[in-house]
């Protein structure tokens, strides 16, 4: 009953009735009649039956009341006064003649006077306190209805015009770009800040971009011609490129997660070894990306092995991304436009590796004028020339090389290390030609080579050679296609010239031809489809040795060349369900054929793969399909915008990998070979589940992200004891089928603007391996999980840049990480005259933790417009603290007794200086 009562009260309030008391009612209905000793309930129903009054009360309140009165033209108030005399019951009557009986206090029908006002002021306070975010979010999301739909103009488009002014100054913003992202219609504000843009009638999100300012957005519903004045933040000094600003939005709004972009500009600020801007070293400052040590080739993403990263340099697959054993990355920084690393949420058009895709985008040259840029460091020099040829063609050509062995020469005097030599070069030529508005042709080519030797006897070399041609065709405004054909080649060689009788040439080679077709179709405002196919034809020469010279008695030997075809079809949809929710989902189907000619062993099923379980050998001819693996890969990721400044995302993807790096060392060594999946070595399979939270703070000044992931991996490769991987035709007898799992959390806080900018990232990650349960040959650590060689649970990176002035900036880079796992000797024994060591379980211990601080100062030349060259200096110190970070720890018998050593690579502060120029 009482509930009913309150409901009514609220109802009364909502319909806006005034505050009424019985006493104030001018005309009351008169009641006459005899009520002899009846209950109040009975009394009330008698009154209700003869009048308009309706009673509301709690039964228990009135149980004890006996009504015993005789009324003659009395008002209801008089009667109730009489009945309730000497009780604590009170009554209230409202306008609609409803009678509320309450105990103790009459029901209060009015609200506090300031009830509504106080709500308002609270609101106001809130918005003041969060003006930067909330108001911005409000104006961004508020729908501005413009124009009149009743206007006689019946055309389907309408004109939107207005004035763009600065938020703080109120001055017109000249040059601001107003655009929408469906058809990319755009307009530019004139000197007075006025713009005018013709758009189809209906809903639009329009973006306002001031060069160097933020991207502002407005939601409009354009009914007819209308005017919208917009105030935006202006930033007089242009510090940021448009790319960077769009990145800002993408942190929150792109549906994929686990994507890291680094502009070359950001990378240039990170202090580098020997002063060379290094893409791979830059990546290592991002959460989830690690390396087993300085000067090691390759990197590990989210607990994956170094060979599980697909490294693309303008469509070309790079098998060895380093120079000089990892001291330098193989990418010339002047050639690089942007770098994207996909740790999760890998786009459906990529495949073939388990852990990540590193997409390095190179330049095609400046459209406006010829430019020359370059740099001179301690060991290397580089030069890049770019520019237009005619109206529709641009090119860029760049080279980099060591120009001196002087460091080695210097060392020669101090050591008996004669004739050591190390050199490298790389060369790029990219070319873009616009045939017409609908067709663009691009040529990408890359060549890199390393050579080194330690004595005149043995020389090593390796080489990447890549070329591809891409044709972009716009079928329509909505359908775009890219066709790529290319060839990638990687090879390494060893020349042994120790002795004419033992002289040999050892070689390894990968040659892959690839063909790709990628389509994107913007179906409507909500759906963007991507689909296509790709095919890679692999030709591996997994190792050969030939005698050199007529005297050599080395027997020529070659591991059977391998061939395979990897074909994939994919389709994906970027689906914007609504403003909050967007989903990217795709399916990729991969078919892998291992092809003849080859000879393949078959083994007893279920038994260990070993020489004793060979049941037969089968030879296949040219073009025969030896076996086929195929299966789907799923890529799903979704984003939900909590509001304009924060979002949550989740993703799931599966990957397959058909090429395996054979390495017995923890880093990629220049003499590691690759192996294709065959009937005895299954392709690697992995999946990843991830979730994340993203938030921008202080008007996008700070970006915060948190990502969690869990990965499963199957058919990884570990090695049996004493496995020999070189010139081995029966590699399957040397490997152990291994499962892996990796999980972790990545937290990053990034400050994009201001004099002080940079980021802090913390990564917790584990990477564990386990000999597969169906592997019977050998069980590492009795078949339990053991940490992988690159399992480094804690990693903290701080990158800070401080601009002292426009010409002088400093950067500091600090890096901490848990020591990587290592297998220590736990006991020793005497054998063959020396003390020998017996090792612990695999990776049971860790080397000491890693900590390093680098510092650099960048000095820009003066900013005079007319001068010969713009130059800059980069001066710094690598490993400022000179901490002796152990790369590895080992034990070796010295004069018959065992001595432990730790090996550090950069054990002292290393100063560097580089001069860069462009004109």
């Amino acid at each position: 009953m009482i509930r009913k009562l309150f409901c009514v009260v609220l109802l009364a309030l909502t319909i806006g009735s005034g505050n009424v008391f019985a006493q104030q009612i001018p005309e009351e209905e008169k009641i006459s009649g005899l009520f002899p000793g009846i209950s109040f309930s009975r009394f009330s129903s008698q009154i209700e039956s003869s009048t308009d009054y309706r009673f509301y009360f709690k039964k228990t309140d009135v149980d004890s009341i006996q009504v015993n009165i005789s009324a003659k033209d009395n008002s209801i108030s008089q009667i109730l006064e009489g009945i309730f005399k000497n009780t604590d019951l009170k009554y209230t009557i409202d306008e609609q003649n409803r009678v509320f009986i309450t105990k103790g206090k009459p029901l209060e029908l009015s609200l506090a006077k300031d009830f509504f006002e106080s709500v308002n002021s609270l609101d106001e306070e809130d918005s003041i306190s969060r003006i930067s975010d909330t108001e911005r979010a409000f104006s961004r999301n508020k729908l501005h209805v413009l124009g009149s739909s009743q206007s006689e103009n019946s055309s389907s488009t309408a004109s939107l015009s207005g004035k763009i002014t600065g938020l703080e100054t109120g001055n017109p913003v000249y040059g601001a770009v107003v655009f929408e992202k469906v058809n990319y219609t755009r307009a530019i504000a004139n000197e007075e800040g006025f713009f005018s843009i013709d758009l189809p009638k209906g809903r639009h999100t329009i973006f306002i971009q001031n060069l160097g300012g933020f991207v502002e957005q407005r939601q409009i519903s354009l009914q007819g011609d209308g005017i919208l004045d917009i105030s935006i933040e202006e930033n007089i000094i242009s510090l940021k490129e448009i790319v960077v600003s769009s990145e800002k939005m993408t942190n929150i709004s792109r549906p994929q997660m686990g994507v890291q972009s680094l502009s070359i500009k950001a990378m240039k600020k990170i202090p580098a070894i020997l002063g060379e801007v290094d893409i791979l070293k830059g990546l290592l400052t991002l959460p989830g990306v690690k390396t087993v040590g300085e000067a090691s080739v390759g990197f590990n993403v989210r607990g994956g092995a170094a060979d599980q990263n697909l490294i693309l340099f303008n469509n070309a697959t790079i098998y060895n991304p380093s120079h000089l054993f990892g001291l330098f990355s193989a990418f010339n920084p002047d050639m690089v436009e942007e770098v994207d690393l996909y740790k999760g949420g890998i786009p459906v058009k990529y495949g073939g590796r388990l852990s990540s895709v590193l997409d390095v985008k190179a330049k095609y040259g400046d459209k406006e004028k010829f430019k020359v840029s370059g740099g001179i460091g301690l060991m290397t020099g580089r030069l890049t020339v770019e520019g237009p040829i005619g109206k529709n063609t641009t090119f860029v050509v760049g080279g980099r090389s060591t120009y001196s062995d002087w460091i080695l020469d210097l060392l020669e005097e101090k050591t008996d290390f004669n004739d050591a030599r190390a050199s490298f070069y790389d060369f790029n030529f990219n070319f873009q030609h616009k045939l017409n508005a609908k067709n663009i042709i691009r040529l990408n080519s890359y060549l890199s080579q390393d050579q080194f030797r330690f004595d005149p006897d043995t020389a090593f070399n390796y080489k990447n050679q890549n070329i591809n041609l891409a044709w972009t065709h716009y079928f329509s405004e909505r359908l775009e296609a890219e066709f790529i054909v290319g060839q990638d080649r990687y090879q390494f060689g060893i020349e042994g010239r120790d002795n004419p009788l033992n002289a040999y040439d050892f070689g390894f080679e990968i040659l892959q031809n690839h063909l790709r077709a990628n389509f994107t179709y913007e179906m409507d405002l909500q759906h963007t489809l991507s689909f296509g196919a790709s095919s890679i034809q692999y030709n591996f020469r997994p190792g050969y040795i030939n005698p050199f010279g007529t005297e050599s008695i080395v027997i020529p030997e070659e591991v059977n060349p391998e061939k395979a075809l990897e074909t994939a079809f994919y389709i994906g949809d970027a689906f914007e369900i609504n403003d909050q929710l967007a989903v990217d989902f795709g399916l990729r189907y991969v078919i892998y054929n291992y092809l003849g000619p080859n000879t393949v062993n078959s083994y007893q099923p279920g038994g260990p793969i070993s020489p004793s379980t060979i049941t037969g050998e089968k030879s296949y001819g040219e073009g025969d399909i030896i076996n086929t693996y195929h299966g789907p890969e799923f890529r799903v990721s979704g984003r939900y915008n909590l509001n304009n400044i924060s979002s949550i995302k989740a993703g799931y993807n599966t990957m397959r990998q058909f090429t395996h790096l054979l390495t017995n060392t923890s880093a990629i060594s220049p003499t590691d070979t690759w192996k294709l999946s065959d009937p005895n070595i299954r392709p690697q399979w992995g999946d990843q589940v991830s979730i994340g939270y993203y938030r921008n703070l202080k008007i996008d000044q700070y970006e915060f992200s948190l990502e969690l992931y869990h990965r499963n991996m199957r058919n990884l490769i570990d090695y049996r004891s004493g496995a020999s991987l070189i010139l081995n035709n029966e590699i399957e007898q040397s490997i152990l089928k291994t499962d892996g799992r990796a999980y972790g959390a990545e937290v990053m806080l990034k400050k994009n603007t201001g004099k002080l900018n940079g980021w802090i990232s913390y990564t917790y990650s584990r990477s564990l391996l386990r000999t597969a349960s169906d592997e019977t040959a050998e069980k590492i650590n009795k078949g339990d999980y053991y940490p992988s060689n690159f399992d480094q649970p804690h990693n903290v990176v701080v990158v800070g840049n401080y601009e002292l002035s426009k010409r002088l900036s400093t950067s500091l880079n600090a890096n901490y990480s848990t020591g990587r796992p290592v297998t220590y000797p736990v006991s020793k024994f005497q054998y063959a005259g020396s003390e020998r060591v017996y090792f612990s379980e695999r990776n049971a211990y860790r080397i000491p933790d890693y900590f390093r601080i680098d510092f650099s100062i960048n000095i820009e030349g003066n900013h005079k417009v007319r001068k010969l060259a713009h130059s800059s200096w980069s001066i710094g110190v690598y490993n400022l603290l000179g901490r002796k970070n152990p790369y590895s720890v080992y034990f070796t018998p010295v004069n018959g007794t065992l001595q432990g050593y730790q090996l550090s690579i950069f054990a002292q502060p290393i100063p560097f200086i580089t001069y860069n120029f462009r004109f």
Partner: protein, 385 residues
């Protein structure tokens, strides 16, 4: 093959290249668990040469104790027909055998420890090692390389070499004199008192392995065994190396290769990860127990060569201990003999003559004159001049 050798060089280069890289002594914090696993080492000769099996136990990696030999065990060899040969413990932990065995039988080694634990080997098949083709040497800018050439056959494809080096050396200051405290005179030294010429040796060889299978006719040509660096004392007079060649089977080869890799190659940047050491001995008492070591049988081959300083002339040498050796400038006269020479720290080195009479001696520190402080003046039995 050179590939492997170059890996460690690669590491070296890297260090150099960075010109700040460094190698420091390191002691990890390890759990001091003493696993005390059984270690079995041995090669049984089948043609009567003395050979044997050594039994010991592992020790914690950081410990200074002597090898923990396992004595009191019963070790026997049994062929497939059940014939049995017992090995006798000749010194603690060493069980010797010298006898003639058929090369065409298979054998098993059985071990019963003092504590009753029993171990048995896999089947062992003796391999007759081909004779060593040649042990030679060559001088180049890196010193003198000693190499071996041999030829394998279908039974003997995998080779294991070890060696013993002996060499003569002379002290920094040579003297033929000795102070006799009884007569307070300086006498000429008797041959057994000679300290001018000593022998030194190196019995801690590296493991050297090679597979002949990859060469034409299984011929191994000039495989490097030892490098004697420039200025080494080893070649200042006369040097001798005895090389033992053993042909082993594939599994033993793998074991030795792992042992070698675990000792020589570990820790570099491109070094392989340490591998599990396997064994052809297993426990009958506890199948889970891990035993270390690989036992082989067969007949080994040996060869000894000598290298004289004349063969490598010119051979400048340098012995750090003798770097600052000098004969005293002041003559010690007869009256001072007892005071100066009786402690033994100063040895009479050069006589000072007055006419035909010796009036005193110039002394020299014992560390510079007495070669027995660094070696032995006893000529080894095998030594030929």
């Amino acid at each position: 093959m050179m590939i492997r050798k170059s890996h460690s060089l690669l590491v070296f280069l890297l260090l150099i290249l960075a010109f700040t890289g460094c190698r420091d002594p390191f002691e990890p914090e390890l759990t001091q668990t003493d696993f005390a696993q059984l270690v079995v080492e041995g090669y049984i000769e089948i043609n009567g040469k003395e050979s044997g099996i050594k039994l010991s136990r592992t020790r914690p990696v950081i410990s200074d104790t002597d090898p923990n030999m396992e004595s009191g065990a019963t070790v026997m060899l049994r062929d497939e027909f059940g014939y049995q040969w017992d090995l006798q413990e000749s010194e603690p932990g060493t069980y010797s055998f010298s006898g003639f065995l058929s090369a065409f039988s298979t054998y098993q080694l059985e071990i019963i420890l003092n504590n009753g634990n029993r171990y048995i080997s896999d089947n062992l098949t003796p391999i007759i090692t081909p004779e060593i083709g040649d042990v030679g040497f060559q001088k180049d800018e890196n010193g003198v390389d000693i190499f071996i050439s041999t030829q394998g056959n279908d039974q003997a494809q995998y080779f294991l070499w070890d060696y013993e080096e002996y060499w003569q050396f002379k002290p920094g200051i040579q003297t033929v004199f000795i102070y006799n405290p009884e007569t307070n005179e300086v006498d000429y030294r008797r041959p057994d008192q000679a300290i001018n010429l000593c022998w030194n040796n190196n019995l801690f060889p590296r493991i050297i392995l090679e597979s002949a299978g990859k060469y034409t006719d299984k011929r191994i040509f000039q495989k490097e065994l030892v490098n004697i660096p420039n200025r080494s004392e080893k070649l200042m007079q006369r040097y001798s190396i005895k090389v033992r060649q053993r042909a082993i089977d594939r599994e033993s080869y793998d074991f030795w290769e792992i042992l070698r890799k675990n000792s020589d190659d570990i820790g570099g940047i491109f070094s392989p990860l340490p591998s599990l050491i396997q064994s052809n001995i297993s426990s009958l008492t506890d199948p889970e127990e891990n035993v270390i070591g690989f036992v082989s049988m067969g007949q080994s081959a040996e060869k000894r060569i000598y290298i004289n300083v004349a063969d490598v002339f010119p051979w400048p040498f340098f012995i750090p201990e003798y770097e600052f050796c000098q004969i005293e400038n002041d003559t010690t006269f007869i009256s001072a003999y007892s005071r100066k020479f009786s402690s033994g720290n100063l040895i009479p080195a050069r006589p000072i003559m007055s006419g035909t009479t010796t009036i005193g001696y110039l002394g020299a520190p014992v560390a510079c004159t007495d070669c027995t402080l660094r070696g032995s003046n006893v000529r080894p039995d095998f030594w030929e001049d």
